[in-house]
Amino acid sequence: MSELLIKNAVVCDPINNVNCEKMDISVKDGKIVESVSSGAKVIDAGGKLTMAGGVDGHTHCAGKINVGRFMSPHDMRMTNVPGLSGKEAPTATTRAQVGYNTPNAFAIGYRYAKLGYTTIGEAAIPIIGARHTHEEFEAIPILDKFGLTLFGSNWQVMEYIRDDEPEKLAAYVAWGLKASRGYGIKIVNPGGGEAWGWGKNVSGLDDPVPNFDVTPAQIIMGLAEANEKLNLPHSIHLHCNNLGKPGNYETTIASMKLLENLKSNRDRQVLHVTHVQFNAYGGTSWRDFESAAPQVSDYINSTDHMTFDLGQAIFGPAMTMTADGPVEYANSRMLNAKWSNMDVELEDASGVVPITYSPKNFVNAVQWAIGLELALLVDDPWKVMFTTDSPNGGSFVNYPEAYTYLMSAKRRAEVIEGFPEMALGRMNIPGIDREIDLYELAIMTRAMQSKIYCMDTKGHLGVGADADIAIYDLKPDSVDTTVEYAAVKKAFSGAAYTIKSGEVVVKDGEIAMTPEGRTYWVNAKMPQATVDAMQVDVAKKFKKYYSVSQSNYMVEDEYLPHPVEITTEAV
């Protein structure tokens, strides 16, 4: 029975409507409690900013990232962000660390913890590759993990939607989540992964998928309805069609509108659109390319059925990795960059291509602006998840730098100064004076995640929450975050304390201990008769088309040594 008392914390906890108020936090057995005994270990926060542990709801941390590592040994010695990148020898507490955009698994755990993050979500798990994802999860220390399972180009999904079998579709999704030990439904360029099987793509929501006679719009709707039928804790998580193409904002808004009338039994959005920066492009080509963040933001402000994340771009080298196979091939040809690809049988595709975002390149400068514009033009921070789609827009170790862009117009002006003239006319950020405060930052980096993933023990510091706590060396009552951005960046780059499940894992920006994290997955229950009917179809897939046996496909319990199983009942 371990007890901890954090005294004099200036707590920023939006879920509980606490805005930088001085208070004590009591921790017992890894949970936040009302009070502790006088024997509790005491940490004096000394008036420092205290938040729940951060939650990164969309990052590439396990699975496909290994392809990125494999093809980029140069990344291992990059030291772009001192203290949070490059090579470090092992210590008595830590394993050896390498990398910047594609750090080794140990470094991912340590560095997120240093930033005060305690939970991360892998953005894309192919079911047949899920065992690998969970092996890497197990190698990431400290953090709790969850992953989203890819369904958007899955043959069984497309066939059930085409054949109008919504019950079997829901049963299949539930089975796929179980097979992959996934947390929710990820849809990447719906139908595009299958088209890429023939070197093609789909052009928009109504372009039928070759050989399957369904459209991307039908795939999105079908899976969204299955999602709500299963009462999953997260909504569908959508990477829209036409990512990365000038003019794609129209597809993005049309995709958002599709789900306006869908209802959920749960208290959350019915749609999360991911890394919208890459999908809010105006113009018709790279010549007249411009920000369409205002159009997208206007739409998001007009509705309450959805949330989104940024996919903020960070200047410097990055590594793009996505299940959007055709996009990565196009990237490699456009950038003349090395290209890795994986066509995943019956399920999807993927690719990995390195990229560098330069402030001197007008397209990159506009991309940088679009991410910030989306965050600043959408009025309600509860709709905005802060991400860089790490490492697509840039490595997560740049989060503290990116916070300063959101929090300080002065800081933004400094960056914009280096942009080419042509870029300035294509963006709106110079005219935006909104500056995010610490409360809004806490919403975008932990509190809204608690809501959109229905993780009621994460992202806040109320009684009953997991004792995942970050204390930053920043005194809210005396710092002006709009001006003192260097102090803000420093404080968020190395937490004074990061506490995970009640244990001090980071102290003064250094790793203090490395407990193993847990893995969350969703076991959605469907009526047995439907499951049995679905299984007949799935068995045929394995008999004729898969290259592995069904019994060897399901991720075994051995790969989740610390599982947290969330069960749901279908409506």
Binding site: R95, V98, F106, I128, G197, S340, N341, M342, E345, V353
Partner: protein
Amino acid sequence: MVVITDAICSLCGSLCDDITVTVEDNVITNVERACILGRNKFVGMFLHDRIESPMIRKNGELVDVSYEEAIDEAAKILVNSKRTLSYGWCSTSCEAISKAIQLAEETGSLIDSTANVCHGPSALAVQEKGGPSATLGAVKNRADVVIFWGCNPAHAHPRHMSRYSSFSKGFFTQKGRKDRKMIVIDVRKTDTAKLADTYVEIEQGSDYLLVTALRSAINGHEDVIPDAVAGVSKEDILELANVLKEAKYTCVFYGMGVTQSRSKYKNGDGVSSLISDINQHSKAVMIGMRGHYNVTGFGQVATWETGFPMAIDFTRGAPYYNPGETGANDVLVRGDVDAAIISAADAGAHFPQDSLKYLAKIPVIQIDPYANPTTELSDVVFPAAVVGVEAEGTAYRMDGISLRMKKLIDTKFKTDEEITVDLINKVRELKGGA
């Protein structure tokens, strides 16, 4: 009698997972669907030279000792070594590989896999140009053209062609072999080549020339191609290029004829570039024909744990990677290590003579189920369970799909993982006491 279905064959990189094994009184008495290589591994386990006891070389002879004595002796070698070479770890589980990496990290060793003498250049090619690939089931369902380049699955991966490639039937390839054009590029007419629709015989060491000519043709520069390249006529090259452009889906399977012949990694770099070029016209991917059943797993685990797939040097603490300098044979030929631990691979049978001469001079620790030429060079020997038969664990197929190998029978032997963990603990104990 126990019948185990969907067992995974831990022989080659095909990792066939449809094997039915019958066990009677802890002996495997029947194996269904495995090829002759796999079957011999399952059934013939005790027909080979199993190492029966831990051994230490005393006065030139390996003599049986207790397990504890062998652990003690091996740990002393590791602690006293300035720089140990840890090599192999490919016919074992990912769990054992992970522990081997931890041991290397804690002892400041250099760790490398069998890729050093096999597909290592393929990794370098991916680092140059990327690896456009697919799962084997994608090939089975889609590919109407398969190319075997410098590889001979008829002998090395006997069920590959029926399960995944030439003969396999899939969703868009219902007629199997009849729906598919099979091309073999090699320096001699192998048994695989005899099954091909088109056999392209090239001059030894000229793979890069042929790749370049094919790229020229596919990219519309046929005027620069001379009358013959690599011993192949321009006409045949143009025809082959046309097949690739017209195909719906091409997979190039490539082997050591590509990776270990002249031009080495530049060949793989060229094939990767060729694949990218073909994708301007149709769809194409490439897959390396990996040999040891879990050499792919070594690359995967090493990459997520250290950032690098092979040739990882912990001498300076943080991992350092420079193949050509830090590869197993690089350091052996230079005499740059003073001890070696070799597991789940047979350096003695496969390394060049200069490397072996040096291995004979330094203390060598072996962990392996079987006595082999490496045993003759070893000073401390640990018998191990056969992973995939006597022990469970994870392995990666040649296409990067991981599967859980089953334990089929009980054994008295410890697993590679257990032995490595015991070594880690003993090394810590000795270091702590120093």
